[in-house]
């Protein structure tokens, strides 16, 4: 446990000094500030006012940025460290491979999740100062969703880092993964549906295997319980899961994907050449 914490702390400190972390923090802090400046907390669109509206917008933007940021910085950092000879030296010290790998994940998860979380808290504090009503249930669930989204893509990033032998390959694979998941949100899915005349259940199943879509639908469900915005797919989802069931699924599934990917990554990391 001591080695795990030492590795996690070393990774946190290393990340805090990195330029990517500064940019990452500025982006998420900047998004919230931009939402305040553009007056979204004051607006009334589709019945959402105050903090709800800000959080919904923040979550939609986060969904687009967070995964690619987590993927790229993770693979760049882990595969880059290996390529630069950092693994050769650090793993010559008597630190267990499990402590090293999972310590890195814990450290990285902390630095990836904290800025996103703090930006969200900034929105809550701002709303409180403005005297707006704070939907605590929504805030907590959104926080949980951001947490699982970060964990999911961190796990995928660690898997890619373990498999790729160079930083460039890892970065390319990470970008491709993100692109495929992003395309399967709507464009390709609709194309497949139209061209092949697939059953709605099949297409929805594909969508529900995509952690990005799961996150998106879960976030949508909090302010649109009947998933009106989603169209006919909503019937399949609500019939299969029910409202509460889908919310649980949208939290549990990305955690499972992230954890499974991280475990597979660990398996390959442990079995292969370390530097």
């Amino acid at each position: 446990m001591k080695h795990l914490m030492l590795t996690a702390m070393a990774d946190i400190n290393e990340s805090l000094r990195s330029r990517w972390f500064l940019i990452y923090t500025l982006i998420f802090g900047g998004i919230v500030v931009a939402l305040f400046i553009t007056g979204l907390t004051e607006s009334r669109v589709m019945g959402f006012t105050g903090l709800s509206r800000t959080l919904v917008t923040y979550l939609q933007i986060t969904m687009a940025i967070l995964p690619v940021f987590v993927l790229l910085t993770t693979v760049r950092s882990v595969a880059g460290d290996r390529e630069a000879g950092i693994f050769e030296y650090m793993l010559s010290l008597p630190v267990g491979l499990a402590a090293w790998y999972w310590g890195k994940i814990i450290g990285r998860f902390t630095v990836v999740f904290l800025p996103v979380f703090l930006a969200m808290m900034l929105a809550v504090v701002w709303a409180a100062i403005k005297g707006a009503e704070i939907p605590w249930g929504q805030v907590l669930f959104y926080t949980l969703m951001l947490l699982v989204l970060a964990w999911c893509f961190l796990g995928i990033g660690m898997l890619i880092s373990s498999l790729a032998r160079s930083a460039d390959v890892a970065q390319g694979a990470a970008f491709l993964t993100w692109l495929v998941l992003l395309l399967f949100l709507d464009l390709i899915l609709l194309g497949v549906m139209i061209q092949n005349g697939s059953s709605a259940e099949t297409v929805v199943l594909i969508a529900l295997l995509n952690p990005l879509q799961v996150f998106r639908t879960g976030a949508m469900m909090l302010f649109d319980p009947q998933l009106v915005l989603l169209g006919p797919s909503a019937w399949v989802i609500l019939d299969t899961f029910g409202h509460a069931g889908y919310l649980v699924y949208s939290v549990v599934y990305p955690i499972l994907v992230g954890t499974l990917c991280a475990w597979i990554g660990y398996y390959f990391f442990k079995r292969g050449d370390l530097p």
């Binding site: 030492l6 950092i86 030296y89 010559s92 050449d273």
Partner: protein
């Protein structure tokens, strides 16, 4: 202590190590030499449990790959190229001491002996240190812990002569209970430090021999170099070795660490045309014997 049994390693179709068999005992100081691509670094990484390989490596009966912590606790490692770590010096020392269950104070003490005040740079990122400072710090971490086996890849390449002498003294204090592998692509760089030479070529051991072990690693040679004329370039070079002159650059006197004698003579060879005389005498050696030898030499010359 260490048994390497038919170890082979390939990267795709490229066989980098081919059936290496070697036994290393405590007290062995091995120069691992070979040209670039001979397999030195790969063998070192196998010893550190960083590469999966064919064959078997046992350190006191334990495999470095499967029982990493148990084995690596006994190994101090100095890489040839310092890793580009952004973590500050103090954090690196405390991390290394933490995972090695060692006292960071011992690492600071070694760095002091090498002429690096690590506390002065404690908040500075490791990567921002100079090449020599990085090397000193990595040596401090390797020697400041209770290691029984030292693996060093060109460890003294970036050190100044004084730091080299102190480094050799530190090695001397560990030589009885510790096995050492000192890797270099040039034997003359490490010849005076070792009592055994293992040469690799295309992944195979082509030489495994014990060598004369008469040089005291802790010794100092008092040297006097006389020149036919003063030369600024020569002055600059020997000043780096701590030499001083009392007659406007015609005679230079200074100390040379015992294991560095070959290296020093290599430096002098660049100025062979200027040399009028060289005298090297080990401090603490029987002066009478030295004087008698000088007398015989003078008689022979006359």
């Amino acid at each position: 202590m260490i048994k390497i049994n038919k170890v082979s390693k390939s990267f795709r179709k490229n066989r980098v190590l081919d059936g290496i068999e070697l036994e290393i005992e405590r007290g062995d100081r091995i120069a691992l030499v070979g040209s670039n691509g001979a397999g030195k670094t790969t063998l070192i990484r196998c010893l550190l449990g960083e590469y999966v390989h064919e064959g078997e490596i046992l350190m006191d009966g334990v495999k470095p790959r499967t029982q990493r912590r148990e084995v690596l606790k006994k190994i101090g490692f100095v890489p040839q190229i310092p890793p580009p770590l952004k973590m500050p010096v103090m954090q690196l020392i405390h991390f290394a001491a933490g995972v090695c269950d060692s006292d960071p104070e011992k690492m600071y003490q070694v760095s002091d002996k090498l002429g690096l005040d690590a506390r002065q740079f404690k908040h500075q990122p490791f990567v921002k240190l100079s090449g020599g400072q990085k090397q000193k710090l990595l040596i401090s971490i390797a020697l400041g812990r209770d290691s029984e086996f030292l693996i060093m890849d060109e460890p003294a390449a970036n050190l100044d002569p004084e730091a080299r002498h102190n480094f050799f003294s530190l090695l001397a204090s560990k030589q009885k209970d510790t096995a050492m592998i000192i890797s270099s692509h040039r034997l003359d760089e490490v010849a005076a430090l070792v009592n055994r030479v293992v040469e690799l070529d295309q992944g195979k051991i082509v030489l495994n021999d014990h060598v004369a072990d008469q040089i005291d690693m802790d010794s100092i040679l008092q040297c006097e170099v006389k020149l036919t004329r003063a030369e600024a370039a020569f002055a600059g070079t020997v000043r780096e070795w701590g030499f001083e002159t009392s007659d406007n650059g015609l005679t230079w006197k200074g100390p040379v660490a015992g294991p560095d004698r070959l290296r020093f003579l290599g430096v002098l060879s660049r100025y062979a045309g200027l040399l009028k005389g060289i005298q090297m005498q080990e401090q603490g050696r029987d002066n009478q014997a030295a004087q008698s030898h000088d007398k015989k030499r003078k008689e022979a010359v006359s």
